[in-house]
Protein backbone atom coordinates (compact mmCIF):
# COMPACT_ATOMS: atom_id res chain seq x y z
CA UNK A 1 0.00 0.00 0.00
CA UNK A 2 2.79 2.34 0.97
CA UNK A 3 4.65 1.52 -2.22
CA UNK A 4 1.56 2.21 -4.26
CA UNK A 5 1.13 5.54 -2.51
CA UNK A 6 4.76 6.48 -3.07
CA UNK A 7 4.54 5.58 -6.74
CA UNK A 8 1.25 7.36 -7.33
CA UNK A 9 1.83 10.41 -5.21
CA UNK A 10 5.56 10.62 -5.91
CA UNK A 11 5.08 10.59 -9.65
CA UNK A 12 2.45 13.28 -9.45
CA UNK A 13 4.60 15.42 -7.17
CA UNK A 14 7.74 15.13 -9.32
CA UNK A 15 5.72 15.91 -12.42
CA UNK A 16 4.09 18.94 -10.84
CA UNK A 17 7.26 20.34 -9.31
CA UNK A 18 9.30 19.83 -12.48
CA UNK A 19 6.65 21.49 -14.65
CA UNK A 20 6.15 24.39 -12.28
CA UNK A 21 9.90 25.03 -11.84
CA UNK A 22 10.47 24.91 -15.59
CA UNK A 23 7.47 26.97 -16.57
CA UNK A 24 7.47 29.54 -13.78
CA UNK A 25 9.54 32.21 -15.61
CA UNK A 26 7.03 32.41 -18.46
CA UNK A 27 3.89 32.08 -16.36
CA UNK A 28 3.01 35.75 -16.59
CA UNK A 29 0.21 37.94 -17.81
CA UNK A 30 1.53 37.82 -21.32
CA UNK A 31 0.77 34.11 -21.50
CA UNK A 32 -2.91 34.86 -20.99
CA UNK A 33 -3.18 38.04 -23.04
CA UNK A 34 -1.01 37.60 -26.11
CA UNK A 35 -1.36 35.40 -29.15
CA UNK A 36 1.47 33.07 -30.09
CA UNK A 37 4.41 34.49 -31.94
CA UNK A 38 7.57 33.33 -33.66
CA UNK A 39 9.45 35.54 -31.25
CA UNK A 40 9.44 33.57 -28.01
CA UNK A 41 9.59 36.64 -25.79
CA UNK A 42 6.33 37.92 -27.28
CA UNK A 43 4.48 34.62 -27.43
CA UNK A 44 1.35 33.95 -25.40
CA UNK A 45 -1.38 31.37 -25.44
CA UNK A 46 -4.52 33.45 -25.22
CA UNK A 47 -6.27 31.93 -28.29
CA UNK A 48 -5.36 28.44 -27.13
CA UNK A 49 -6.59 28.96 -23.57
CA UNK A 50 -9.82 30.54 -24.78
CA UNK A 51 -10.39 27.78 -27.32
CA UNK A 52 -9.84 25.14 -24.67
CA UNK A 53 -12.43 26.78 -22.43
CA UNK A 54 -14.84 27.06 -25.37
CA UNK A 55 -14.31 23.43 -26.25
CA UNK A 56 -14.91 22.41 -22.67
CA UNK A 57 -18.12 24.40 -22.46
CA UNK A 58 -19.55 23.10 -25.75
CA UNK A 59 -18.60 19.53 -24.90
CA UNK A 60 -20.34 19.93 -21.54
CA UNK A 61 -23.49 21.32 -23.15
CA UNK A 62 -23.61 18.53 -25.71
CA UNK A 63 -22.43 15.47 -23.83
CA UNK A 64 -24.30 15.86 -20.54
CA UNK A 65 -27.87 16.04 -21.90
CA UNK A 66 -27.26 13.30 -24.47
CA UNK A 67 -25.36 11.15 -22.00
CA UNK A 68 -27.89 11.51 -19.19
CA UNK A 69 -30.88 10.87 -21.44
CA UNK A 70 -29.19 7.81 -22.91
CA UNK A 71 -28.43 6.53 -19.42
CA UNK A 72 -32.04 7.13 -18.31
CA UNK A 73 -33.33 5.25 -21.33
CA UNK A 74 -30.99 2.31 -20.83
CA UNK A 75 -31.53 2.03 -17.08
CA UNK A 76 -35.19 2.87 -16.67
CA UNK A 77 -36.94 2.18 -19.94
CA UNK A 78 -34.96 -0.24 -22.10
CA UNK A 79 -36.07 -3.83 -22.05
CA UNK A 80 -32.89 -5.86 -21.82
CA UNK A 81 -34.54 -8.79 -23.56
CA UNK A 82 -34.61 -6.84 -26.81
CA UNK A 83 -31.60 -7.33 -29.06
CA UNK A 84 -31.27 -3.70 -30.06
CA UNK A 85 -30.84 -2.60 -26.46
CA UNK A 86 -28.10 -5.15 -25.99
CA UNK A 87 -26.44 -3.86 -29.17
CA UNK A 88 -26.54 -0.29 -27.81
CA UNK A 89 -25.09 -1.42 -24.52
CA UNK A 90 -22.20 -3.39 -26.02
CA UNK A 91 -21.47 -0.58 -28.47
CA UNK A 92 -21.16 1.97 -25.69
CA UNK A 93 -18.82 -0.26 -23.76
CA UNK A 94 -16.67 -0.74 -26.85
CA UNK A 95 -16.71 2.93 -27.75
CA UNK A 96 -15.36 3.79 -24.31
CA UNK A 97 -12.28 1.72 -25.15
CA UNK A 98 -11.62 3.17 -28.62
CA UNK A 99 -8.40 5.26 -28.80
CA UNK A 100 -9.17 8.92 -29.21
CA UNK A 101 -7.09 9.22 -32.40
CA UNK A 102 -9.64 6.95 -34.06
CA UNK A 103 -12.35 9.46 -33.17
CA UNK A 104 -10.09 12.06 -34.75
CA UNK A 105 -10.00 10.18 -38.03
CA UNK A 106 -13.75 9.71 -37.87
CA UNK A 107 -14.19 13.40 -37.25
CA UNK A 108 -11.95 14.31 -40.14
CA UNK A 109 -13.89 12.04 -42.48
CA UNK A 110 -17.45 12.76 -41.39
CA UNK A 111 -17.54 16.12 -39.69
CA UNK A 112 -14.77 18.19 -41.26
CA UNK A 113 -15.06 16.76 -44.76
CA UNK A 114 -18.41 14.91 -44.71
CA UNK A 115 -20.63 17.63 -43.32
CA UNK A 116 -18.08 20.09 -44.56
CA UNK A 117 -17.98 22.51 -41.65
CA UNK A 118 -14.21 22.61 -41.93
CA UNK A 119 -11.52 22.71 -39.28
CA UNK A 120 -13.40 24.84 -36.79
CA UNK A 121 -14.04 24.96 -33.05
CA UNK A 122 -17.41 23.25 -33.45
CA UNK A 123 -15.80 20.32 -35.28
CA UNK A 124 -13.33 19.87 -32.46
CA UNK A 125 -16.09 20.10 -29.86
CA UNK A 126 -18.22 17.51 -31.67
CA UNK A 127 -15.34 15.08 -31.80
CA UNK A 128 -14.47 15.59 -28.15
CA UNK A 129 -18.14 15.07 -27.33
CA UNK A 130 -18.00 11.71 -29.07
CA UNK A 131 -14.81 10.88 -27.17
CA UNK A 132 -16.31 11.55 -23.73
CA UNK A 133 -19.91 10.47 -24.38
CA UNK A 134 -19.38 6.79 -23.53
CA UNK A 135 -17.74 7.77 -20.26
CA UNK A 136 -20.57 10.16 -19.39
CA UNK A 137 -23.16 7.49 -20.20
CA UNK A 138 -21.40 4.82 -18.16
CA UNK A 139 -20.99 7.17 -15.18
CA UNK A 140 -24.62 8.31 -15.38
CA UNK A 141 -25.89 4.74 -15.59
CA UNK A 142 -23.81 3.89 -12.56
CA UNK A 143 -25.32 6.83 -10.68
CA UNK A 144 -28.87 5.89 -11.68
CA UNK A 145 -28.29 2.27 -10.75
CA UNK A 146 -27.04 3.27 -7.31
CA UNK A 147 -30.44 4.80 -6.50
CA UNK A 148 -32.06 2.00 -4.51
CA UNK A 149 -35.12 0.34 -5.95
CA UNK A 150 -37.00 1.01 -2.72
CA UNK A 151 -37.10 4.69 -3.71
CA UNK A 152 -38.77 3.84 -7.01
CA UNK A 153 -41.18 1.46 -5.31
CA UNK A 154 -42.04 4.06 -2.69
CA UNK A 155 -42.82 6.63 -5.35
CA UNK A 156 -44.83 4.19 -7.46
CA UNK A 157 -46.82 3.16 -4.39
CA UNK A 158 -47.95 6.77 -3.98
CA UNK A 159 -49.46 6.78 -7.43
CA UNK A 160 -46.62 8.47 -9.27
CA UNK A 161 -46.26 7.70 -12.96
CA UNK A 162 -43.08 6.25 -14.40
CA UNK A 163 -42.16 9.69 -15.73
CA UNK A 164 -42.65 11.30 -12.31
CA UNK A 165 -40.68 8.57 -10.60
CA UNK A 166 -37.75 9.03 -12.96
CA UNK A 167 -37.74 12.83 -13.07
CA UNK A 168 -38.65 13.63 -9.49
CA UNK A 169 -36.95 10.87 -7.56
CA UNK A 170 -34.37 8.92 -9.52
CA UNK A 171 -32.67 11.76 -11.38
CA UNK A 172 -32.38 14.17 -8.43
CA UNK A 173 -30.95 11.36 -6.34
CA UNK A 174 -28.49 10.49 -9.10
CA UNK A 175 -27.33 14.04 -9.88
CA UNK A 176 -24.22 14.04 -7.64
CA UNK A 177 -22.94 10.83 -9.20
CA UNK A 178 -23.72 12.02 -12.70
CA UNK A 179 -22.06 15.39 -12.11
CA UNK A 180 -18.92 13.78 -10.75
CA UNK A 181 -18.63 11.40 -13.68
CA UNK A 182 -19.35 14.09 -16.23
CA UNK A 183 -16.76 16.48 -14.86
CA UNK A 184 -14.10 13.80 -14.80
CA UNK A 185 -14.95 12.91 -18.40
CA UNK A 186 -14.82 16.56 -19.33
CA UNK A 187 -11.40 17.07 -17.79
CA UNK A 188 -10.24 14.26 -20.02
CA UNK A 189 -11.69 16.06 -23.04
CA UNK A 190 -9.90 19.27 -22.15
CA UNK A 191 -6.56 17.47 -22.13
CA UNK A 192 -7.07 15.59 -25.40
CA UNK A 193 -4.59 16.39 -28.19
CA UNK A 194 -4.68 13.60 -30.72
CA UNK A 195 -8.22 13.93 -32.10
CA UNK A 196 -7.90 17.70 -32.24
CA UNK A 197 -4.81 17.50 -34.40
CA UNK A 198 -6.80 15.27 -36.75
CA UNK A 199 -9.74 17.65 -36.96
CA UNK A 200 -7.49 20.58 -37.52
CA UNK A 201 -6.63 22.48 -34.44
CA UNK A 202 -3.93 24.48 -36.16
CA UNK A 203 -0.82 25.60 -34.49
CA UNK A 204 -0.51 29.24 -35.20
CA UNK A 205 -3.69 31.17 -34.42
CA UNK A 206 -3.29 34.84 -33.74
CA UNK A 207 -6.93 35.68 -33.01
CA UNK A 208 -9.57 34.71 -30.48
CA UNK A 209 -11.55 31.62 -31.47
CA UNK A 210 -15.15 31.70 -32.67
CA UNK A 211 -17.57 28.80 -33.08
CA UNK A 212 -16.97 28.48 -36.81
CA UNK A 213 -13.43 29.81 -36.91
CA UNK A 214 -10.01 28.21 -37.06
CA UNK A 215 -8.63 27.42 -33.65
CA UNK A 216 -5.95 25.82 -31.62
CA UNK A 217 -6.19 24.28 -28.19
CA UNK A 218 -3.94 24.41 -25.20
CA UNK A 219 -2.58 20.84 -25.48
CA UNK A 220 -1.93 21.35 -29.18
CA UNK A 221 -0.17 24.64 -28.49
CA UNK A 222 1.98 23.02 -25.82
CA UNK A 223 2.81 20.18 -28.15
CA UNK A 224 3.88 22.62 -30.81
CA UNK A 225 6.05 24.68 -28.48
CA UNK A 226 7.98 21.62 -27.36
CA UNK A 227 8.97 21.04 -30.99
CA UNK A 228 10.56 24.47 -31.33
CA UNK A 229 14.38 24.69 -31.14
CA UNK A 230 14.52 27.90 -29.05
CA UNK A 231 14.73 26.93 -25.35
CA UNK A 232 12.42 29.79 -24.35
CA UNK A 233 9.65 27.93 -26.15
CA UNK A 234 10.32 24.94 -23.89
CA UNK A 235 9.70 27.20 -20.93
CA UNK A 236 6.54 28.47 -22.59
CA UNK A 237 5.39 24.89 -23.09
CA UNK A 238 5.87 24.22 -19.40
CA UNK A 239 3.96 27.38 -18.52
CA UNK A 240 1.12 26.27 -20.80
CA UNK A 241 1.17 22.90 -19.13
CA UNK A 242 0.76 24.57 -15.75
CA UNK A 243 -2.36 26.35 -17.00
CA UNK A 244 -3.75 23.12 -18.44
CA UNK A 245 -2.99 21.25 -15.24
CA UNK A 246 -4.65 23.98 -13.21
CA UNK A 247 -7.81 23.75 -15.33
CA UNK A 248 -7.94 19.96 -15.10
CA UNK A 249 -7.13 19.80 -11.39
CA UNK A 250 -9.71 22.48 -10.65
CA UNK A 251 -12.35 20.44 -12.46
CA UNK A 252 -11.37 17.31 -10.59
CA UNK A 253 -11.53 19.24 -7.34
CA UNK A 254 -15.09 20.33 -8.14
CA UNK A 255 -15.94 16.70 -8.83
CA UNK A 256 -14.49 15.58 -5.51
CA UNK A 257 -16.28 18.32 -3.58
CA UNK A 258 -19.57 17.36 -5.23
CA UNK A 259 -19.03 13.72 -4.45
CA UNK A 260 -18.26 14.38 -0.81
CA UNK A 261 -21.06 16.83 -0.24
CA UNK A 262 -23.70 14.51 -1.61
CA UNK A 263 -22.26 11.26 -0.37
CA UNK A 264 -24.94 8.60 -0.49
CA UNK A 265 -26.90 8.53 2.68
CA UNK A 266 -28.83 5.32 2.30
Amino acid sequence: MLAAMVVAFGTLAVLLVDTIVTGWPELDRQLFTDPPSTVPEEAGARPAILATLYLGLIVLLLSVPIGVLTAVYLEEYANRERWWNRVIEVSIQNLAAVPSIVYGILGLAFIVRGIGIGRVVLAGALILTLVVLPTVIVASREAIRSVPDSIRQGAFALGATKWQVVWRQVLPAAIPGMATGSILALSRAVGETAPLIMVGAIVYVAFDPTLFGAYTALPVQIYNWTKQPDPTFQTLAAAGAIVLLAIVLAMNAVAIVLRNRYRRRW
Binding site: A155, A157, G159, A160, R168
Partner: protein
Protein backbone atom coordinates in the same frame (compact mmCIF):
# COMPACT_ATOMS: atom_id res chain seq x y z
CA UNK B 1 -56.33 -31.36 22.06
CA UNK B 2 -60.04 -30.72 21.87
CA UNK B 3 -60.07 -29.67 25.50
CA UNK B 4 -57.40 -27.09 24.84
CA UNK B 5 -59.27 -25.63 21.96
CA UNK B 6 -62.04 -24.55 24.22
CA UNK B 7 -59.74 -22.48 26.36
CA UNK B 8 -58.91 -18.86 25.65
CA UNK B 9 -55.15 -19.18 25.81
CA UNK B 10 -54.26 -22.83 25.57
CA UNK B 11 -50.83 -24.34 26.08
CA UNK B 12 -49.42 -26.79 23.65
CA UNK B 13 -46.22 -28.58 24.55
CA UNK B 14 -45.34 -25.77 26.88
CA UNK B 15 -45.64 -23.16 24.14
CA UNK B 16 -48.04 -20.44 25.05
CA UNK B 17 -50.18 -19.27 22.22
CA UNK B 18 -50.06 -15.57 21.47
CA UNK B 19 -52.61 -13.68 23.44
CA UNK B 20 -55.39 -12.41 21.28
CA UNK B 21 -56.50 -8.95 22.22
CA UNK B 22 -58.73 -8.21 19.27
CA UNK B 23 -61.88 -10.16 19.60
CA UNK B 24 -64.49 -9.29 17.05
CA UNK B 25 -67.14 -11.73 15.99
CA UNK B 26 -66.87 -13.01 12.47
CA UNK B 27 -70.49 -12.23 11.79
CA UNK B 28 -69.95 -8.65 12.86
CA UNK B 29 -66.96 -8.25 10.53
CA UNK B 30 -68.78 -9.84 7.64
CA UNK B 31 -71.50 -7.23 7.92
CA UNK B 32 -68.92 -4.61 6.96
CA UNK B 33 -68.47 -3.65 3.36
CA UNK B 34 -66.14 -5.78 1.28
CA UNK B 35 -63.22 -3.65 0.13
CA UNK B 36 -61.50 -6.45 -1.75
CA UNK B 37 -63.00 -9.62 -3.05
CA UNK B 38 -60.32 -12.00 -4.23
CA UNK B 39 -61.27 -15.09 -6.19
CA UNK B 40 -59.07 -17.88 -7.53
CA UNK B 41 -56.05 -15.62 -7.54
CA UNK B 42 -52.72 -16.97 -8.73
CA UNK B 43 -49.40 -15.25 -9.32
CA UNK B 44 -46.50 -16.59 -11.31
CA UNK B 45 -43.04 -15.22 -12.02
CA UNK B 46 -41.69 -16.09 -15.47
CA UNK B 47 -44.08 -19.02 -15.67
CA UNK B 48 -43.25 -20.39 -12.22
CA UNK B 49 -46.24 -20.26 -9.92
CA UNK B 50 -45.58 -18.42 -6.66
CA UNK B 51 -49.08 -18.39 -5.26
CA UNK B 52 -52.17 -20.36 -6.20
CA UNK B 53 -55.94 -20.24 -5.87
CA UNK B 54 -56.43 -17.67 -3.17
CA UNK B 55 -60.00 -16.70 -2.41
CA UNK B 56 -60.80 -14.30 0.39
CA UNK B 57 -62.55 -11.03 1.22
CA UNK B 58 -61.05 -7.99 2.94
CA UNK B 59 -63.50 -5.90 4.97
CA UNK B 60 -63.69 -2.18 5.52
CA UNK B 61 -62.20 -0.59 8.66
CA UNK B 62 -60.63 -3.88 9.54
CA UNK B 63 -57.05 -4.93 10.07
CA UNK B 64 -56.41 -8.04 8.03
CA UNK B 65 -53.16 -9.91 8.61
CA UNK B 66 -51.42 -12.39 6.32
CA UNK B 67 -49.13 -14.75 8.18
CA UNK B 68 -47.10 -17.76 7.17
CA UNK B 69 -43.58 -19.09 6.74
CA UNK B 70 -41.18 -17.43 4.31
CA UNK B 71 -41.83 -18.27 0.70
CA UNK B 72 -45.55 -18.73 1.28
CA UNK B 73 -46.39 -15.88 -1.08
CA UNK B 74 -47.87 -13.48 1.46
CA UNK B 75 -45.78 -10.54 0.22
CA UNK B 76 -46.55 -11.51 -3.35
CA UNK B 77 -50.22 -11.53 -2.44
CA UNK B 78 -50.31 -8.12 -0.78
CA UNK B 79 -48.66 -6.62 -3.87
CA UNK B 80 -51.61 -7.76 -5.94
CA UNK B 81 -53.85 -5.24 -4.18
CA UNK B 82 -52.03 -2.18 -5.52
CA UNK B 83 -50.70 -3.84 -8.64
CA UNK B 84 -47.09 -3.52 -7.59
CA UNK B 85 -46.48 -6.89 -9.24
CA UNK B 86 -47.01 -5.11 -12.54
CA UNK B 87 -43.59 -3.55 -12.04
CA UNK B 88 -41.84 -6.91 -11.95
CA UNK B 89 -40.96 -8.17 -15.43
CA UNK B 90 -42.40 -11.61 -16.01
CA UNK B 91 -44.96 -11.42 -13.21
CA UNK B 92 -48.43 -12.65 -14.14
CA UNK B 93 -51.58 -12.36 -12.08
CA UNK B 94 -54.57 -14.60 -12.75
CA UNK B 95 -58.00 -14.73 -11.18
CA UNK B 96 -59.93 -11.71 -10.04
CA UNK B 97 -59.45 -9.00 -7.47
CA UNK B 98 -62.54 -6.85 -7.04
CA UNK B 99 -62.08 -3.50 -5.33
CA UNK B 100 -65.47 -2.21 -4.14
CA UNK B 101 -66.94 -4.47 -6.78
CA UNK B 102 -64.79 -3.22 -9.68
CA UNK B 103 -62.18 -5.42 -11.30
CA UNK B 104 -58.76 -4.14 -10.22
CA UNK B 105 -57.16 -5.84 -13.19
CA UNK B 106 -59.77 -4.69 -15.68
CA UNK B 107 -58.74 -3.68 -19.14
CA UNK B 108 -59.31 0.03 -18.62
CA UNK B 109 -57.91 0.28 -15.10
CA UNK B 110 -54.73 2.34 -14.80
CA UNK B 111 -52.41 0.91 -12.13
CA UNK B 112 -51.38 4.47 -11.30
CA UNK B 113 -54.99 5.24 -10.31
CA UNK B 114 -55.10 2.08 -8.22
CA UNK B 115 -52.03 3.12 -6.24
CA UNK B 116 -53.51 6.53 -5.51
CA UNK B 117 -56.29 4.88 -3.55
CA UNK B 118 -54.40 1.96 -2.12
CA UNK B 119 -51.29 3.10 -0.29
CA UNK B 120 -48.39 0.94 0.71
CA UNK B 121 -45.76 0.86 3.44
CA UNK B 122 -42.75 -1.33 2.89
CA UNK B 123 -40.69 -3.69 5.00
CA UNK B 124 -37.65 -1.46 5.15
CA UNK B 125 -38.38 2.24 5.75
CA UNK B 126 -37.74 3.91 2.40
CA UNK B 127 -37.99 7.68 2.84
CA UNK B 128 -36.95 9.68 -0.18
CA UNK B 129 -33.57 11.44 0.13
CA UNK B 130 -35.37 14.76 0.62
CA UNK B 131 -36.64 16.82 3.53
CA UNK B 132 -39.32 15.53 5.89
CA UNK B 133 -41.80 17.98 4.40
CA UNK B 134 -40.99 17.04 0.82
CA UNK B 135 -41.40 13.36 1.62
CA UNK B 136 -44.97 13.86 2.76
CA UNK B 137 -45.69 16.46 0.08
CA UNK B 138 -44.45 14.24 -2.75
CA UNK B 139 -47.71 12.32 -3.16
CA UNK B 140 -50.03 15.36 -3.14
CA UNK B 141 -47.65 17.12 -5.53
CA UNK B 142 -47.46 14.39 -8.15
CA UNK B 143 -51.18 13.78 -7.93
CA UNK B 144 -51.86 17.50 -8.21
CA UNK B 145 -54.09 17.44 -5.13
CA UNK B 146 -55.48 20.88 -4.40
CA UNK B 147 -55.85 22.63 -1.10
CA UNK B 148 -53.27 23.86 1.34
CA UNK B 149 -50.16 21.72 1.10
CA UNK B 150 -48.89 22.74 4.54
CA UNK B 151 -52.14 21.63 6.14
CA UNK B 152 -52.10 18.41 4.22
CA UNK B 153 -48.59 17.60 5.37
CA UNK B 154 -49.35 18.52 8.96
CA UNK B 155 -52.53 16.45 8.96
CA UNK B 156 -50.75 13.40 7.58
CA UNK B 157 -47.91 13.72 10.09
CA UNK B 158 -50.40 14.07 12.94
CA UNK B 159 -52.33 11.00 11.89
CA UNK B 160 -49.06 9.08 11.73
CA UNK B 161 -48.26 10.26 15.29
CA UNK B 162 -45.06 11.92 14.11
CA UNK B 163 -45.98 15.61 14.08
CA UNK B 164 -44.78 16.47 17.59
CA UNK B 165 -41.39 14.93 16.95
CA UNK B 166 -40.69 16.63 13.64
CA UNK B 167 -42.70 19.87 13.58
CA UNK B 168 -39.60 21.97 14.30
CA UNK B 169 -37.44 20.37 11.67
CA UNK B 170 -39.63 19.79 8.65
CA UNK B 171 -36.88 21.10 6.39
CA UNK B 172 -34.33 18.60 7.70
CA UNK B 173 -33.44 15.52 5.72
CA UNK B 174 -35.69 12.54 6.30
CA UNK B 175 -32.71 10.21 6.41
CA UNK B 176 -31.64 11.76 9.71
CA UNK B 177 -34.69 10.28 11.46
CA UNK B 178 -34.51 7.06 13.45
CA UNK B 179 -35.74 3.85 11.84
CA UNK B 180 -39.07 3.95 13.67
CA UNK B 181 -39.60 7.61 12.80
CA UNK B 182 -38.73 6.89 9.19
CA UNK B 183 -41.36 4.18 9.07
CA UNK B 184 -43.99 6.50 10.56
CA UNK B 185 -42.91 9.07 7.99
CA UNK B 186 -43.57 6.49 5.29
CA UNK B 187 -47.01 5.94 6.80
CA UNK B 188 -47.61 9.70 6.85
CA UNK B 189 -46.48 9.85 3.24
CA UNK B 190 -49.02 7.20 2.32
CA UNK B 191 -51.78 8.98 4.31
CA UNK B 192 -51.08 12.32 2.63
CA UNK B 193 -52.72 11.19 -0.61
CA UNK B 194 -55.87 10.24 1.29
CA UNK B 195 -55.99 6.59 0.40
CA UNK B 196 -58.80 4.21 1.13
CA UNK B 197 -56.64 1.23 1.99
CA UNK B 198 -53.15 0.97 3.48
CA UNK B 199 -51.09 -2.09 2.70
CA UNK B 200 -48.23 -2.81 5.06
CA UNK B 201 -45.61 -5.35 4.08
CA UNK B 202 -43.91 -6.39 7.33
CA UNK B 203 -43.85 -2.77 8.46
CA UNK B 204 -42.13 -3.41 11.78
CA UNK B 205 -39.71 -6.18 10.92
CA UNK B 206 -36.75 -3.79 10.72
CA UNK B 207 -37.69 -1.88 13.89
CA UNK B 208 -36.92 -2.17 17.60
CA UNK B 209 -39.69 -3.28 20.02
CA UNK B 210 -40.64 0.24 21.12
CA UNK B 211 -40.98 1.49 17.56
CA UNK B 212 -42.91 -1.66 16.76
CA UNK B 213 -45.37 -0.93 19.55
CA UNK B 214 -45.88 2.58 18.26
CA UNK B 215 -46.60 1.29 14.76
CA UNK B 216 -49.04 -1.25 16.14
CA UNK B 217 -50.84 1.39 18.21
CA UNK B 218 -51.00 3.48 15.10
CA UNK B 219 -52.67 0.70 13.14
CA UNK B 220 -55.32 0.49 15.83
CA UNK B 221 -55.93 4.22 15.45
CA UNK B 222 -55.91 4.18 11.67
CA UNK B 223 -58.37 1.37 11.18
CA UNK B 224 -61.18 3.70 12.20
CA UNK B 225 -60.68 5.63 8.98
CA UNK B 226 -58.86 3.18 6.76
CA UNK B 227 -58.81 -0.44 5.80
CA UNK B 228 -55.49 -2.00 6.70
CA UNK B 229 -53.87 -5.08 5.27
CA UNK B 230 -50.65 -6.23 6.88
CA UNK B 231 -48.16 -8.95 6.11
CA UNK B 232 -46.19 -10.11 9.10
CA UNK B 233 -43.93 -12.97 10.01
CA UNK B 234 -44.51 -12.13 13.65
CA UNK B 235 -47.48 -14.10 14.94
CA UNK B 236 -47.70 -12.11 18.15
CA UNK B 237 -48.05 -9.01 16.06
CA UNK B 238 -50.87 -10.48 14.03
CA UNK B 239 -52.56 -11.59 17.24
CA UNK B 240 -52.23 -8.11 18.71
CA UNK B 241 -53.37 -5.97 15.81
CA UNK B 242 -55.45 -7.98 13.38
CA UNK B 243 -59.19 -8.59 13.32
CA UNK B 244 -58.93 -11.14 10.55
CA UNK B 245 -55.98 -13.39 9.85
CA UNK B 246 -55.13 -15.47 6.81
CA UNK B 247 -52.60 -18.25 7.16
CA UNK B 248 -50.54 -19.11 4.10
CA UNK B 249 -48.30 -22.10 3.68
CA UNK B 250 -45.86 -23.52 1.20
CA UNK B 251 -46.45 -26.63 -0.84
CA UNK B 252 -43.55 -28.37 -2.52
CA UNK B 253 -44.00 -30.47 -5.65
CA UNK B 254 -43.46 -34.20 -5.35
CA UNK B 255 -40.04 -33.99 -6.96
CA UNK B 256 -39.13 -31.17 -4.60
CA UNK B 257 -38.43 -28.67 -7.34
CA UNK B 258 -41.17 -26.06 -7.31
CA UNK B 259 -42.48 -24.32 -4.20
CA UNK B 260 -45.61 -22.25 -4.18
CA UNK B 261 -47.81 -20.56 -1.66
CA UNK B 262 -51.38 -21.50 -0.84
CA UNK B 263 -54.00 -20.05 1.45
CA UNK B 264 -54.67 -22.55 4.21
CA UNK B 265 -57.15 -20.82 6.43
CA UNK B 266 -58.79 -17.44 6.77
CA UNK B 267 -60.85 -16.48 9.76
CA UNK B 268 -61.07 -14.10 12.69
CA UNK B 269 -57.77 -13.71 14.46
CA UNK B 270 -59.13 -15.22 17.65
CA UNK B 271 -60.32 -18.29 15.79
CA UNK B 272 -57.02 -18.72 13.94
CA UNK B 273 -54.99 -18.48 17.12
CA UNK B 274 -57.22 -20.42 19.48
CA UNK B 275 -59.26 -22.94 17.55
CA UNK B 276 -57.87 -23.20 14.03
CA UNK B 277 -59.74 -25.68 11.90
CA UNK B 278 -56.73 -26.77 9.88
CA UNK B 279 -53.97 -28.85 11.36
CA UNK B 280 -51.28 -26.91 9.50
CA UNK B 281 -52.49 -23.63 10.97
CA UNK B 282 -52.42 -25.09 14.43
CA UNK B 283 -48.90 -26.41 13.98
CA UNK B 284 -47.75 -23.00 12.82
CA UNK B 285 -49.40 -20.83 15.45
CA UNK B 286 -48.27 -23.10 18.24
CA UNK B 287 -44.71 -22.83 17.00
CA UNK B 288 -44.28 -26.43 15.99
CA UNK B 289 -43.49 -25.43 12.43
CA UNK B 290 -41.98 -22.45 10.67
Amino acid sequence: MSAMRQMGTPRVQGTRLPEVTVGVERAEIERREKVFSVAELGVSYSGKPALEEVTLDVYENTVTAFIGPSGCGKSTFIRCFNRMNDLIPGARVEGTVLYHGADLYGRDVDPVDVRRRIGMVFQKPNPFPKSIFDNVAFGPRVLGLGGNLDERVEGALRRAALWDEVKDRLKDGALGLSGGQQQRLCIARALAVEPDVILMDEPASALDPISTTRIEDLMDELKRDYTIVIVTHNMQQAARVADMTAFFSVVVDDDGSARRGILVEYDTTSKIFTTPSDRRTEDYVTGRFG
